[in-house]
């Protein structure tokens, strides 16, 4: 993974010092709260319903075991003993004090981490595929480009006060998209052109929130050396022309749609013409320098293990077999596999990890996966490089710390936003609904029968839980002061991007879990075979059968 040199290190240390000074000036009254707000936000510090929340940046979700132990230490020392995995592959702490935060930043800097630009109207943490570098279906590892973008966007002087927040994702898988590049302000897809050269397709204007949009192509093929000047041109057009009069119309998706993609692209290209051949040209040596940090691990030479993996999925120990089937995927190196550690359990808010679990996972990463782990945007963890021969051992150890659930990519493996338990914008709670759904589908055979499906829950229209792109989406609304939930079907965040549609009138808290079950039972009746997943079945039969199952004929 990327290792800081003296420059990177100095930047995080200087930031930590700067923030400590800002806090002191805030506490002395020299800075007003209104002036302090964007400063703390650009350092990941939010004011939530009950307390401050600090969001720590985990670039493209990649963490070393040393870093994870530091997060455990922070959870224990400065918080209530847990942290929360976010949809931007970061980790957030819900209970730090303002004075504590300056110390937390020093602690983070000591392990090459920070909280820079994890909120505020600036360029946020760049995300990528959680299986980057180990998956068979990628052109090349996208993380070096995500890191190059991270460095370019860190303290970018021109783009610290954009109309609104700005999110970039990078992927490199032509047939699958785990990074949701179509739902980002900018999506960067590593592609190959007709001549077999590698470059990027650049998308802009995707996003969720109140008015969801699917990103559109600004440029089909961008040579690699122009990556940063092109991003800079898009940001510059946005910074000048994005709306600032209404925060609900301030995201770049609104600008792209108001101008139309042709005019938007024309302005970007015009800007780019002026700067493309300047100092921002990305030299091959720089790409190579960053790539070296992501060189493959020292894998052992082992025989092919695909058939062994298939056999393990049928293991007579069904807890283990199911876990292999649902949570383990083949690796590009023979003899290895990638493991998704589910952080979805009926007893615990989805995505919450205790300090003890963090320490344990760090130990397991050291022992079984070259000391690295990843956070996924679905609020789970991944150990990407585990020997197939050690899967059983690993599973036992995960079960011992309550992280051995076999529900990855299934109905219990949901995304939930913080909702009314933490968020001051919420209409309804998300977390307890999520936990009740996990509980409802506790029977692994039933869950397996339902197969691949994803559920996403947001506590309000701001869509932090990505409900628009859930195969099943749940949106919390307020109906005369009572929490209600709208059910949506048919969304997808992948290459086959689509937005879910509302089925009908909203459900109460007591009804919504049953409604999800009703939909899934109907799916089991409607599907042509077990190979037809929920989303495929929905696309074939449409909304009507589900509507009927939920509301009857009228």
């Amino acid at each position: 993974m990327y290792q800081y040199d003296q420059y990177d290190q100095r930047i995080v240390e200087e930031r930590s010092r700067q923030f400590r000074g800002q806090v002191q000036r805030r506490l002395s009254g020299e800075i007003l709260e209104d002036e302090f707000k964007p400063l703390r936000l650009q350092n990941g510090l939010y004011m939530q319903l009950h307390a401050y929340m600090l969001r720590v940046a985990v670039p493209y979700g990649l963490l070393s075991s040393t870093q994870m132990r530091k997060l455990a230490h922070i959870a224990r020392t400065y918080d209530k003993g847990y942290g929360h995995l976010t949809t931007r592959q970061n980790m957030q702490f819900n209970w730090p004090t303002l004075e504590g935060v300056a110390n937390i930043l020093d602690e983070l800097a000591s392990v090459q981490m920070h909280a820079v630009q994890t909120s505020g109207n600036c360029i946020r943490n760049t995300t990528s595929d959680q299986f980057a570098g180990v998956t068979r279906d990628e052109l090349e590892d996208p993380r070096p480009y995500a890191e190059i973008i991270r460095q370019w966007s860190t303290f970018h002087p021109e783009f610290a006060f954009l109309p609104r927040k700005f999110k970039i994702a990078v992927n490199a898988t032509p047939d699958d998209d785990r990074a949701a590049v179509y739902f980002h302000d900018i999506g960067v897809k590593l592609v190959e052109n007709g001549a077999g050269e590698r470059g990027f397709e650049v998308l802009a204007g995707g996003g969720l929130g109140r008015t969801p949009h699917i990103g559109q192509t600004v440029r089909k093929f961008l040579p690699k050396e122009h990556l940063l000047s092109y991003l800079e041109s898009i940001l510059r057009v946005y910074n000048q022309f994005g709306r600032r009069d209404n925060k609900f119309k301030a995201r770049i998706k609104i600008l792209v749609n108001a101008l139309g993609i042709e005019e938007f692209s024309r302005r970007v290209e015009e800007e780019w013409e002026q700067i493309k051949d300047g100092d921002m040209l990305l030299p091959e040596e720089e790409i190579e320098r960053v790539k070296k940090h992501f060189a493959p691990h020292a894998y052992e030479t082992l025989p092919d293990s695909d058939s062994e993996l298939a056999a393990l999925a049928l293991d007579k120990d069904r807890a283990f077999g199911n876990w292999v089937k649902n949570n383990v995927r083949p690796h590009k190196v023979p003899g290895y596999a990638s493991v998704t550690i589910s952080v979805k359990d009926k007893e615990i808010p989805p995505g919450d990890l205790s300090d003890y679990q963090m320490d344990q996972v760090a130990d397991l990463a050291d022992r079984y996966s070259f000391g690295e782990m990843r956070i996924t945007h679905t609020q789970n963890l991944v150990l990407a490089d585990v020997k197939v021969s050690q899967l059983r051992e690993l599973h036992e150890k995960l079960v011992a710390v309550n992280l051995g659930n076999a529900n990855a990519n299934h109905i219990a493996d949901m995304i939930t936003c913080p909702g009314l338990d933490f968020c001051n914008l919420a209409n309804a709670r998300s977390i307890p609904i999520g936990m009740r759904i996990i509980d409802r589908f506790d029977d692994i055979d039933y869950m397996n029968d339902i197969g691949d499906v994803n559920l996403k829950i947001s506590g309000c229209i701001n869509a932090c839980g990505h409900h628009h792109v859930g195969n099943i989406g749940i949106l919390g609304i307020d109906k005369q002061g009572v929490e209600h939930y709208q059910l949506m079907l048919g969304g997808s965040a992948g290459n086959d991007a689509s937005l879910g549609q509302i089925v009908g009138p909203a459900f109460t808290q007591d009804e919504i879990v049953g409604a999800v079950d009703t939909v899934l039972q109907r799916y089991l009746k409607e599907r042509e075979s077990a190979d037809e997943t929920f989303i495929h079945c929905y696309r074939r039969v449409g909304m009507a059968p589900f509507k009927e199952a939920l509301y009857g004929d009228n």
Binding site: R15, W152, T154, F155, P157, M280
Partner: protein, 159 residues
């Protein structure tokens, strides 16, 4: 209100002149509208001439008109309005503006570093703020990743 130029607190010789008000002796800053109307007369005066533009000004549209003035003041109506940063960079980088580029309005210490990187060299600090303390802002970072108008080379050309 203190004026900072090139990292120091300075005695300010410039005067902002409102539309409709007669231009006094000395160095004056007028609005863009006035520059357009009375440009010739203003340029013929003895003192230096500067212009003040709003954050909604588009650099590509005003660049040629303002690029040989002695000063361009860019307004920050609220410090969270970040358009001024792009105006500054484009005036410096594209129009090769070499006069004084001054941030005016809601100008606060914690934005000075970014402003400097985008090509500003002078700042009218918000009334009531500690100007001595604000000077520290320019030294808060000794390394930067990206190029700016201060140094166009990204760190990868300096590493």
């Amino acid at each position: 209100m203190a004026t900072i130029r090139d990292g120091k607190i300075v005695e300010d010789t410039w005067q902002h002149v409102a539309d409709g008000e007669a231009a006094p002796e000395g160095d004056v800053i007028v609005t863009l509208a006035r520059l357009r109307q009375e440009g010739e007369a203003l340029r013929a005066r003895a003192g230096k001439l500067g212009v003040r533009v709003g954050s909604d000004a588009i650099a590509d549209e005003i660049g040629d008109e303002v690029k040989d003035l002695a000063l361009v003041a860019i307004e920050f109506p609220k410090y969270v309005d970040g358009r001024g940063y792009t105006i500054a960079r484009k005036l410096r980088d594209r129009f090769k503006f070499e006069g004084e580029l001054r941030a005016v309005g809601n100008v606060l210490r914690d934005q000075l570093f970014y402003m400097h990187r985008c090509g500003f060299d002078a700042y009218e600090l918000q009334e009531g703020k500690d100007a001595e303390g604000a000077l520290e802002a320019f030294q808060e970072f000794s390394v930067t990743y990206q190029g700016g108008s201060d140094d166009p080379r990204p760190l990868y050309r300096r590493r």
